[in-house]
Symmetry: D2
């Protein structure tokens, strides 16, 4: 009998192979196809025009990395059953299924109290029902209830395949080549020790490189000042629209006005396109703040941003307010929407939880932060935090 | 004085440099920024998930190729003034400014009688007014009125920089690496002879390769059966919506219902997002045909396609109609919308007009189709045509 | 038990995996290690400075392609035993083991009557003995005696993995990106039908592209006029040295003077380094012709080359002889060594033997040259031949 | 008049342009062409089969980076005359001209007291004479006597173009993609402040990345244990050959035996090929140590290596000596040649001299090690040192 076999062209990895009927059906499901309409990097394409890739593309990529990682582990003699393989692949394929419009950028503005991982869980549970329980093991792996911990660690941890794909992919589509990580080498260095994911000694430099590349991507790309500006404006647009009860097309309209009763069905109806269309429609809104912000996004006339290592000086804020007041004829209250401060922070490595563990040839284990001549050590311990101010030109 | 200088990350070429204030202002203009919201490859991303790049990105890329090409030609001693350089760059930057939603896929459905090149011309004329006539030379180059013919040939011809960028870029974002052309080598082989663009003898194989790569991209990617299916469905959605006067959000609604009076202002308000949102809103429309097609696009449950080298057999059409009638309970009239035939055709090289000319070291000139041992010769002369049928599963 | 597992970094494919102890031992064998000292592209690096890769690297690459191809075929349900897999990998690993110094460039000058494939066979036979018959099946596959013909076809044919690797690799190291072939896509399209290797219908354009890329590599790179010049000079150096019995260091000296009694042991002692050192040592030789040619190679002051589509005009030859005579004070006899003509020829596709066969979905088979709208058809049938003259500046 | 214009294919940068007649003549000079026969990475290709690129290729690459860097600086308004441009390009083209066989690996074994930079200087001085003083300014820049310090800093410093090319190129040819640096972005961030090379604020993360990539390349590639083993063996071969006055072919023979009187002419006659041929010839030498080491290099049967963070335990050394004694029947004296210890050390950033300076938008200057949240700070200050032992299997 001919095996099920589909290939998808991927500029990052060449070809992604789908060779399991159930996985193919999940990919075909409207819940999953909806991820085509959610940008992986929200509005970062306003700075990096190539960064228009979708969350569907990212999760297919993470699935691919899972596929080759499991094969590597099996080649090393790790016992992973066919069902476990299928489940781990499904779990990573669906790890972002709960993302709403503009993902992280709007996470707390739109879906209210619900974190995207909770939504992912709700949706996976629903899919599990629709597929007659065939996703149960995937759910267990996703929620870390499955005994083989390393399967969960491949999906969620400081060295998971989600990170490996998004760093690789974001760096590919933005063209920031220096963010490149050696995902293929890291994967070849992975192994399992006492049921936990560990990295062979020879992988130390690749790991350091991976953590530093992530640091670079955060500060150079994800927190690029223009990106931060755009995403802050996006959040304020939604907040303002709710506040003044600005109307827009359905189903977003109801969604903005009754967030208490989100059903999965409702949630799945909205995506980046709904939000962007609402923004287009508000460009001529009577509310000065709303129309200002919406036009600014659509025509890419973004707020200016400046970063500081200390909290922004109150005098600078006042100065920018005064200027904006004169140039844009805004009330004090309106000014709060267009001149504001914020913080960006990221940590290169979390020393407290979920460590990356090195397995030495002699069997000893060490945290990556504790190896000899570690690059990643206490001096990177603290969260790096920067302060910014946004204001109109 | 500090020169104007901006760089944009491009995964295809590394960095794109903007070092002219006027060009920067044009890029900032809402007409140009709108191209962010038009996919370069319409719905091809339903097959190639990476192919989500925008027409803005493509035209920036073509601008970049113009920039390096002009520099090469100047290095070879060709006389090109500063103003001519600026104008050629502006002309190619704006060559696609008149593209509407989903570009070619909807060109004849939406904007009615107007070809995108006419719209580009209208919009460039409008921009020329807004910029106090500074774009006049760019307009003359674009419309081939400028005496130095080679500048126009770089923008529109069988070897123009538009093609070089879109082939390179589409191949990059789809991941179809074999479509790669040696754009950098071809550019180094370009020169000017009697005011016309010609290619040095050493570039023959690169040119053949370029034409063959284009052939491959047409038949493997642009006419991929699933892409053809999606784009045919898209056209039928618009046609059906007009026919039954399906309502949708403004400004698309007026646009669909009064196409006679398109003003540039109106035209610029719509983009891929408007069309896609309308499609989402019609998923629950009462009209069976419209809702069928709309759901099919949104959930990627596309019509099946089969290609033939001869016109589709009438019996096969009947068979598919009968099947669709039973499975989807459709009237004869409705069937016409879901079971249909069409043709795809492309030519590798046009032997009649606008030849690619080789300049030999001894000064003789030859059409690329007439060089010794030409790969591109009469046997490729005819248009390659294929016939397809689309039908529901 | 821990499986045998080594990885080798390859800039072309990322990582090459060796997971079989016998294969590892063969790679470790001095016969194989010797291939490190034979350039894959002879003297092409005089034009393409990056083209210094070795024949060892190429054969490792071909081995890698075999490894992934066998995996693909197995995934498609083709039956290939563990032993057959091992043997096919060994056969391709050793397909070039019989190459002497500067491979093809010196093939007929040095090893006299023996073709490199005969030498490969002799050496494989010797290795088979050294490894107690474990290479017998590999030998049978190599000599096409093994019943599963497709295994031999993967090693030697118009679509073999040898070609796929050398085109890919040569194009990578020369930097001639336009020669890139879609080896990964072609491999995914391979299948087996009645024991023969065939290509699925969807691979047609990739195959055409592959054949055209090969054509480009031949005429742009392998027959680049400076490469031809250098390799012709190399051949004449060896011929002249033999003729005048110029002495050089052992073991090359004996080799040049008693070619009748080549033992494998003797043959394995010499490589590119011996020949190049002899050339260096002859730079001050009394023989004018020999020292002229040797200095020309070492200092890269090569003979000039001109190509023609017709046999070189006798008058031009005379003219160049006269000029060389005056400038370099050469006798008539000496002139024959420095002013000479030759032919280069290659065929894009051989229509007679060993066709590339397409398998259509409906089960029909067609030669790639006979598909609809074939690019590769009778007009490419003839061998393309060019004529050149070499002469001193 | 037609300008001088040659292009060279480079897989790393695409094309390298030579558009200056003098530079072309220097490249054609036998001193420069000799660099084709010196491996950039000595014996690293025994681990990374692709790493066979030559020092000629590297210096052409560094020249290319100089060419684009000067253009960037000029675009930013920095004053650099035509002559200065030519001279800076020549200086970097020749920066490695004094490298002997196997470069650093044999630097102290072969050329005795002379450092390769002194030899480079001697050879540049000789070339300056041969070219009638046209290289004087290049010499001044190379020796840091030229007033515009930044030109020297581009050639020699912690952020010079030599490093940028060799990291980029070595990482390309080894296939260690994670070593990739953003050379193009760093170059775009370079500027000149008070005559010194500085980096714009936006380049901080790229610089950190550059330093970390260099760290990775050192420990993962340059100090890879097998590479260290091979290079240590190479040094011992030369030392042993000198000690026992082993004979080999000229000109290496005289060179090994009278190192006091090195003339440039003599020095230029030898390259990697001479040394490797001598090694081949010594494979059957009566001296057990010499033939053991030579065979080990030729057949790639290298000494084993183990790394430690502390000096190697004396007991381990004894144990390995005892084992080698028994297995290889060696005297105590001979054992010293085959069982030995050593140190490898590198520093990520030198805090003392030649700092990398950041220029902030407000005009302040800071050492890269002193910026906020610096990754490169005191904890990387110390030299990282490792200890190794080599011993026979």
């Amino acid at each position: 009998m001919k095996k099920f076999h589909k290939i998808i062209n991927d500029p990052v990895y060449g070809f992604i192979t789908i060779d399991d009927e159930l996985i193919h059906q999940i990919i075909q499901h409207p819940y999953y196809q909806r991820l085509r309409r959610i940008h992986q990097m929200a509005l970062a394409h306003l700075v990096y025009p190539g960064a228009v890739h979708s969350r569907l593309h990212h999760s297919l990529g993470a699935y691919h990395l899972m596929r080759i990682t499991l094969q590597e582990l099996i080649n090393k003699g790790i016992d992973i059953s066919i069902k476990e393989q299928q489940s781990a692949k499904i779990a990573i394929l669906l790890h972002d299924i709960g993302h709403g419009p503009f993902s992280h950028a709007l996470e707390h503005s739109l879906a209210g109290k619900l974190h995207h991982e909770e939504l992912s869980l709700m949706m996976m549970t629903s899919l599990n029902e629709q597929f007659q329980g065939q996703l149960q093991m995937a759910l267990d792996i996703f929620t870390n209830k499955y005994p083989k911990k390393f399967l969960h660690q491949l999906i969620s941890g400081q060295l998971d395949l989600d990170r490996m794909d998004y760093l690789t992919r974001d760096c590919f589509f933005t063209g920031v080549n220096e963010g490149l990580i050696g995902y293929d080498r890291i994967i070849k260095m992975l192994t399992v020790h006492n049921g936990e994911l560990v990295v062979e000694e020879k992988g130390i430099y690749s790991l350091e490189k991976f953590l530093i590349a992530r640091r670079l991507m955060y500060w150079q790309v994800y927190f690029h000042k223009t990106v931060v500006s755009a995403e802050q404006m996006l959040q304020r647009i939604i907040k303002r629209a709710k506040e003044i009860k600005a109307s827009c097309a359905e189903p977003l309209h109801s969604f903005l006005n009754n967030e208490n009763v989100i059903s999965i069905e409702q949630f799945c109806k909205i995506d980046d396109f709904d939000v962007l269309m609402a923004i287009k429609s508000w460009c001529n809104h009577d509310d000065k703040v709303l129309s200002f912000l919406c036009n600014a996004i659509i025509d890419r006339q973004l707020l200016k941003v400046r970063y500081f290592t200390e909290p922004v000086d109150q005098k600078l804020i006042e100065e920018k307010r005064d200027l904006a007041k004169i140039n844009h004829h805004l009330s004090e209250k309106e000014l709060d929407w267009l001149v504001f401060v914020g913080e960006a922070s990221s940590r290169t490595y979390d020393f407290e939880k979920d460590p990356i563990t090195i397995l030495y040839k002699d069997g000893t284990l060490k945290d990556i932060a504790l190896v000899d001549n570690a690059l990643i050590n206490q001096n990177l311990n603290g969260v790096v935090k920067k302060y910014y101010i946004c204001y109109p030109k």
